[in-house]
Every structure is written in C-alpha cells, then in structure tokens.
C-alpha cells in the first residue's frame, strides 16, 4: 500500500528490489542445498548439543546433587540461566507485537527470526525449570491435575505456579503467532516447490493458503488482536518471573522495583541477542539489503534506552537499600558491590550500564563490528546480573557460620552448554528450512517506504512504463 511517508525516511529494503526479487532472495536459502558454512555451523552446534545432552542426562539421572549447590546457596546457575533465557525470549514478541501496535515498519524484516529465537530461548529456559525440579518426570505436578493425594491442587497464590502458567502460555501463544505469520510464506515456497518432498511438507504446513482478500482481511485482524494480547502477555511473563524473587523475604530480592526492572532487562538482553544473531545471519545469507544499517541502528537505540532503564534500576535499588534504613538490605547491597562477589557485580555494571552508553555516538552505533561485540557484551552482563541477584543475595545468610561461596561443577557448566547447543541447533534448522524473513510483510512495506521501488505509472491504453 502506498502510504504517505516522509521523504527523509531511509528505504526499508535496499537495492531497488521488486517483489519477485524478495521471493527469490529469501527462498534461495530454503530451496538450495545447504551451504558448506551452514553444514559446519550445524555440525558444531550438534556436537555442543550432544555434550550438553550428556551433562543434562547425567543431571537428570543422578539428581541435582551433581551441581555445586550447598545448603546456603540453593539456587545458582539453574535459575540464573532460566531467567537469562526467558529474558532473551522477550525480544521476539516485543518486536512482532509491540512494534506492530506502534506501526514500526522496520520490524518486518527482523520479526520472523526474532520470534523464532524467542521460542527457542523459552525452550532453553524450560530445560532449566525441568532440571531444577530434581525429578523432572514429575513436572506435571506443577499443573492443576486431579490426583490421588486428595485431590491436592497447586497453590494459585504462589508466584511459582503463576510462572508455570505465564511461561507455558507465553511459549504456546508465541508459537501460534509465529506459525500464523509463517503460513503465507510457506505457501509461497509451496507454489515454487520443485521436489516432491518440499511440495508435500510445505503443502502440509501451508494449510491450503491462497492469499484471498477475505483471508488476508481476517488474517490482519487476527494478527492485530494477537499483538494486542501478546503485548501485556510479554510484560506479564517477566513481571511474574521477577515476582518469584520479589514476593520472597530475602534481602536483595523483595523489592517492589523488580517487575519493571526485570522487564526492561529482558527487553535489553533480548534485543542484544537479536542483534547478535541478525548481524551474523545478514552476512551468511547475504541479506544486507533487508537488514540494513537503519535496522542495526534502531536496535542499538533500543538497547541504549533499555540499558539506561536497567542502569537507573541498579542505582535506585542501591539508594533504596540505604534510604530504607534496613540494615539487612543495606548489607546485602554493600556485599554485592564490595564483598567476595564484587567482580560479578562490577562485571554487570560495566557490561550493562557503561558499555551501551557508547551507542550515543553515531559512529559506534553504525559500526557493525562494534555493534556485534557490544551485543555479546550486553548478554554477558545480563547473565551476571541474574547471577549477582541470585547468588550474592543468598551466599551470606543470617548466620555467619553458614556463609558460603558457590562454585559450579562441570554439570552446572554442561547444562548451560546444553542450552546453547539446543538454541543454535534449532536456530540453524530454522534458518535452513524456513524463510528467515517474512516475505509477505516485507513486500507490504516496500512501496510505502522504499522510494526506489520500481514505481509503475499508468499511461494511455492500459500500457505501463517503468520509471524509477
């Protein structure tokens, strides 16, 4: 659709592409033989996955005694990794839902990959939830199912139960949103398919999509409503994750600032992860005209904004710990910054608060290498944030005789490696077998914004001439 767009706007798709070029560019990856780079990357991630699966399998078999937990530090890497992955899993829905509501058209070329990443990240998070239960085969006990104990139900007053509902709803709704967006593109691949196998599989999953005006009209409504309900959903998920901590009585955890602070942190780390992945994807799949400098810059701006919100939250926490006059609270924060875990705290401060401020400089936020490095740095920082919140609040409890430190075992590390293996294996499979860019949505914003779309003007007699 042609909309009125300011001429100073950058074009969303570069290279003067036509609709057919878009189809061609995006379907190329799906239709062709896997490249050598893809095969190498996929093999490496499979090896990582296999090693991680061994570690996780051993953890399940032996129980969580194989982790480095002790009686003082009863939560460490498991919950750190869980919160970290769930946080990363916020960007996809944020991009596709919140940016849709705000009519941010640049989201169209990154939302597909971001949503896929979201789903995989939430699956990784779920692996820690299952593992930390100790008896993962009893995971269904977290659901309100009739049982032979009474029936004894789950406690709906508990944030941990809220979390079960929040994460599972979030995962399934994100999956539905993602799949719905995939259907028109799967139909495009189906209609171009040459081999029997791809005709069958893309035919199966494209559910007979034809792209009729009636279907599109309904589709637009469904997307809009899904975006409308996903926006509070995505905010609720990390709010509830933060309540796992905030409703407890542990100094350093029971602060009312947690929900907005966690949500900002989640968006921060999620966007950083999207940035990391897309900077690689655009080069590997030659999508520089779709994921342009404009996109990279926009992402960096969001990273700076959310990073600053997180920074203010850190300072507020510190201030309130002192201002409240509660000595346990004050001690907890002084211990975080200057106690035995000072290095983790300052790591967090440097990576999350200081480094994103570099994006104030245009030369830095438009530099691809620095953007890539900083996006990784942000996620290192966000991992340390969760580690600091969890471990440094626990390790010096009320009785000095039970003060302890936490050191991870190979299984703590191995289970973390498992999540990376799972994440990248799924991401590479996605990148090979599904279109990494939402073709239909990109096509729909090309003419409105790209001034260099080959514009057709009608001349006499129904004949057209192409002008640029």
């Amino acid at each position: 659709m042609s909309h009125v767009v300011s001429p100073i706007r950058e074009t969303l798709v570069g290279g003067g592409r036509s609709y057919h070029d878009v189809t061609q560019d995006i379907c190329k990856q799906v239709e062709g033989e896997p490249t050598k780079e893809w095969k190498i990357a996929f093999s490496v991630s499979c090896v990582i996955f296999a090693y991680g699966a061994y570690c996780l399998g051993y953890t399940w078999w032996q129980g969580i005694g194989v982790w480095g937990l002790n009686k003082t530090v009863g939560w460490a890497w498991d919950i750190t990794n869980f919160v970290w992955w769930v946080g990363i899993g916020h960007a996809g829905t944020l991009i596709s839902a919140v940016l849709l509501l705000f009519r941010q058209k640049w989201r169209t070329s990154i939302n597909r990959a971001a949503e896929a990443m979201t789903i995989f990240a939430v699956l990784c998070a779920a692996s820690f939830i299952l593992a930390h239960m100790g008896r993962p085969w009893l995971a269904h006990w977290a659901l309100p199912l009739p049982n032979t104990f009474g029936s004894l139900w789950v406690n709906f007053n508990s944030p941990l139960v809220w979390d079960v509902f929040a994460i599972s709803t979030y995962l399934s709704v994100s999956l539905v949103f993602w799949y719905l967006g995939l259907i028109p593109d799967l139909a495009t691949i189906r209609d171009r398919a040459q081999t029997k196998a791809s005709k069958f599989w893309y035919g199966l999953f494209s559910v007979g999509w034809t792209g009729s005006a009636k279907t599109w009209a309904r589709y637009e409504y469904v997307s809009l409503i899904l975006a409308g309900i996903s926006t509070p959903l995505v905010l609720s998920v990390h709010t509830i994750v933060s309540m796992d901590f905030a409703t407890s009585v542990i100094p350093g955890w029971h602060t009312t600032i947690f929900p907005p602070y966690f949500v900002a942190g989640a968006i921060f780390s999620g966007f950083a992860m999207v940035q990391t992945l897309l900077l690689v994807t655009r080069v590997v799949f030659k999508l520089e005209d779709y994921i342009t400098m404009e996109h990279i810059e926009m992402m960096n701006i969001i990273i700076t904004v959310t990073g600053s919100v997180v920074g203010i939250a850190y300072l507020t926490e510190f201030f309130i710990a002192w201002y409240s006059g509660v000595e346990y609270e004050s001690y907890c924060f002084i211990n975080r910054a200057f106690g035995p875990y000072w290095w983790a705290y300052w790591m967090m401060m440097t990576c999350n608060v200081i480094s994103p401020q570099l994006f104030w400089f245009k030369s830095i936020r438009t530099n691809i290498l620095i953007s890539f490095i900083l996006s990784v740095v942000v996620n290192v920082g966000m991992w340390f944030e969760r580690f600091v919140i969890i471990v440094s609040s626990l390790h010096r409890d009320y009785i000095p005789s039970s003060w302890a430190m936490f050191s991870p075992t190979m299984y703590d590390i191995g289970d973390y490696i498992f999540s990376f293996g799972l994440f990248f294996t799924l991401f590479f499979l996605f990148a090979k077998f599904l279109p990494v860019i939402n073709m239909a949505e990109v096509k729909s914003v090309m003419k409105g914004v790209s001034s260099n779309y080959p514009f057709k003007k009608k001349s006499e007699g129904g004949k057209e001439s192409v002008t640029h």
Partner: protein, 174 residues
C-alpha cells in the same frame, strides 16, 4: 448441472492498480469473486464487497470463556475443594489470582481465535489450495471472475479487465 466452473483470471502487477481496478471493474457491472494477493492490501476486502470479519467478536468471547474457566478452576480448587489455611487469611484471595486468570484469558483468546481463523477460511493441514495462478503468492495480484455468476460475455469482461490495467487475462477451469 455443469460441474466445471469457468473463471476469467486478471493478472495485475501492482497493488494500487489492483485496488483501483476492483472499483473500476465493479463499476462496469462485473461481479468479482475474489482477489488473490501476495500480501495484505488495506481496503481491498471492502472494495470487493466482502462483509467485515466478525473474528474480533469471536476473540472476545473466547477471552471471556478463558477468564471464566480460570476463575472457576481457581475458585473450585482454592476455596471449595481443598482450601488451605495460609496465615488465617481469606481463602478467596482474588488479587493473587489475577496473573493466572490473565494468562488463561490470553491463552483461550489466542487459541480460540486462531482456530476460528482456520475454520472460517477452511484451512487445514494438507488442504489442496484452489490455485488460479501460482504467481499470486509471489508478485502478482490475481482477480478472478466466475463466468457462471456473470451475464456479460467473456470478450466483454476481458476488455474491461485489460482496460483496468490487467497485464494478462487467462481462462481457468476447475
């Protein structure tokens, strides 16, 4: 009765042109059955004359169902079936139940609405699409005219389609 349906298929290659063409072709008294496009075009469905979708109403009703189900489940388990004494507080702890109620509402809305979407468009896994032109999922905008529902002759309609900017007019039979 004749079982084969005959269609005239107008092929356009620009979304604004097809949108104008719909009004133009309709204005000349030709009944358009449907327009197939590679991406959504705002206002196309109303231009063709499709009624406004009622999917938002369905979504609201599913949401209401979700809310009711969640509240019913929580009240049944926490107040009636197995009330737990927690510091002597009221069994009916509504503020604590908002998160799960909210999630239930969202879950039912999303799944119910998408299910309705599939049913109302009669889409299901493995369905064979009724394809008029394979390029309609790539870069072409396809207008279909069912000859069974139109009185005008084929040549007349072809003329109208061409005049409205169609780059090709094909005949398709099912």
């Amino acid at each position: 009765m004749n079982t084969t349906e005959k269609y005239l298929v107008g092929v356009y290659d620009d979304e604004d042109e097809v949108l104008h063409a719909v009004t133009e072709v309709k204005g000349k008294g030709v009944k358009i059955e449907e327009v197939y496009t590679p991406f959504p075009i705002h206002g196309l469905d109303t231009a063709i004359g499709h009624p406004r979708t009622r999917i938002p109403i369905a979504a609201f009703l599913f949401g209401l169902t979700g809310l009711t189900c969640a509240q019913f489940l929580i009240n049944y388990t926490m107040v009636f079936d197995w009330p737990m004494i927690i510091g002597g507080k009221d069994f009916f702890a509504l503020p604590d139940w908002i998160p799960v109620t909210f999630e239930g509402t969202v879950l039912f809305t999303a799944f119910g609405m998408v299910f309705t979407f599939f049913v109302s468009n009669s889409l299901w896994p493995g369905k064979k699409p009724k394809t008029f032109d394979l390029r309609s999922t790539d870069d072409k905008f396809i207008m279909t005219i069912n000859m069974g529902t139109n009185k005008k002759s084929e040549a007349e309609i072809e003329e109208i389609l061409k005049a409205s900017g169609a780059i090709e007019v094909n005949v398709k039979q099912f």
